[in-house]
């Protein structure tokens, strides 16, 4: 099977990524202090932020791949685009659900009509449509081209989601940068909290690199199988 042998660099990346994730979990559990108002649930924050960071980063990378595909028409960019959208989608869902769990004891509700919550949901739903859209087009070249345009349009929701808590009146906290003047959420971070957050973000970014590479290899192998099947059908 083509691409079965995992490159040494990817194996090293996987080991590094998983070690960093375990280390960041240890920091969350043992190093980061407990927040006095929210209690232990505030610690969901570290992985919740990292999951959302990874989701948004991935959608931006997918859009860049889409641009590269539209310029070069090289199918490798399309494969990377699919990989990026899928990972971004999965992590955005984890971010939304974990946020809802955090909200329950703090806002006294699982869900509320907050600008940040609405924009992130629109983003996830739009990227859910990406996969349905791809499945609807049979011709590979046309599918890649149209999907690239879709990824370029959908990426508009990323800055919208990021800025929603900074522009609108919201109860969602902003911990990096300034929030809106009349925002109601937010909490101050101790230096240990800040360090844990940035370490977790770094760990997730390394994990993302490993996952993107792995998913790209999988996509390449799947397409090779489809081509082989098509070749055999012709014979």
């Amino acid at each position: 099977m083509p691409g079965e042998e995992r490159p040494l660099a990817l194996r090293v990346l996987w080991v590094l990524a998983l070690t960093l994730i375990v280390a960041s979990l240890a920091m969350v559990w043992f190093y980061a202090p407990m927040e006095r108002v929210m209690g232990l649930v505030q610690k969901v924050f570290y992985f919740h932020v990292a999951a959302n960071w990874l989701g948004m980063l991935s959608f931006i990378i997918a859009a860049l791949m889409a641009v590269l595909y539209l310029i070069t028409r090289d199918p490798r960019w399309d494969r990377l685009e699919v990989a990026a959208v899928e990972i971004g989608w999965a992590f955005s869902i984890m971010g939304v659900v974990s946020g809802s769990v955090w909200a329950r004891p703090i806002w006294n509700t699982w869900w509320t009509q907050d600008p940040r919550l609405i924009t992130v949901t629109v983003m996830v739903l739009l990227y859910s449509g990406y996969f349905l859209f791809r499945r609807a087009i049979i011709d590979p070249e046309r599918r890649a081209r149209h999907s690239s345009v879709y990824a370029l349009v959908a990426v508009v929701t990323v800055p919208l989601t990021f800025l929603s808590a900074r522009i609108y009146r919201t109860i969602h906290p902003v911990v990096v940068g300034k929030s809106s003047a009349d925002a109601m959420g937010g909490f101050d971070m101790a230096p240990e909290m800040r360090l844990t957050m940035f370490f977790t973000l770094f760990a997730f970014t390394v994990l993302y690199a490993a996952m993107l590479w792995e998913r790209y290899r999988l996509e390449t192998a799947q397409r090779a199988l489809e081509e082989e099947k098509a070749r055999l059908m012709e014979v």
């Binding site: 209690g39 232990l40 969901v44 999951a51 659900v97 199988l225 099947k229």
Partner: protein
């Protein structure tokens, strides 16, 4: 000083969602690789049978 509220249940639930989601996604990658490997094996067998015939 006010006591710190006990929100540990939601803390564990939050990490169950996050770590569970990550494991699920990594598991899906592993499963898809396995399925692909089997499909290649089936294809190789079909080619062998075709040659024999």
């Amino acid at each position: 000083m006010e006591p710190i509220p006990d929100t540990s249940f939601y803390f564990y639930l939050g990490y169950f969602v996050l770590l569970g989601g990550m494991i699920l996604y990594l598991g899906s990658l592993w499963y898809r690789w396995r399925r692909l490997r089997r499909a290649w094996e089936d294809l190789a067998m079909l080619e062998r049978l075709d040659d024999e015939l």
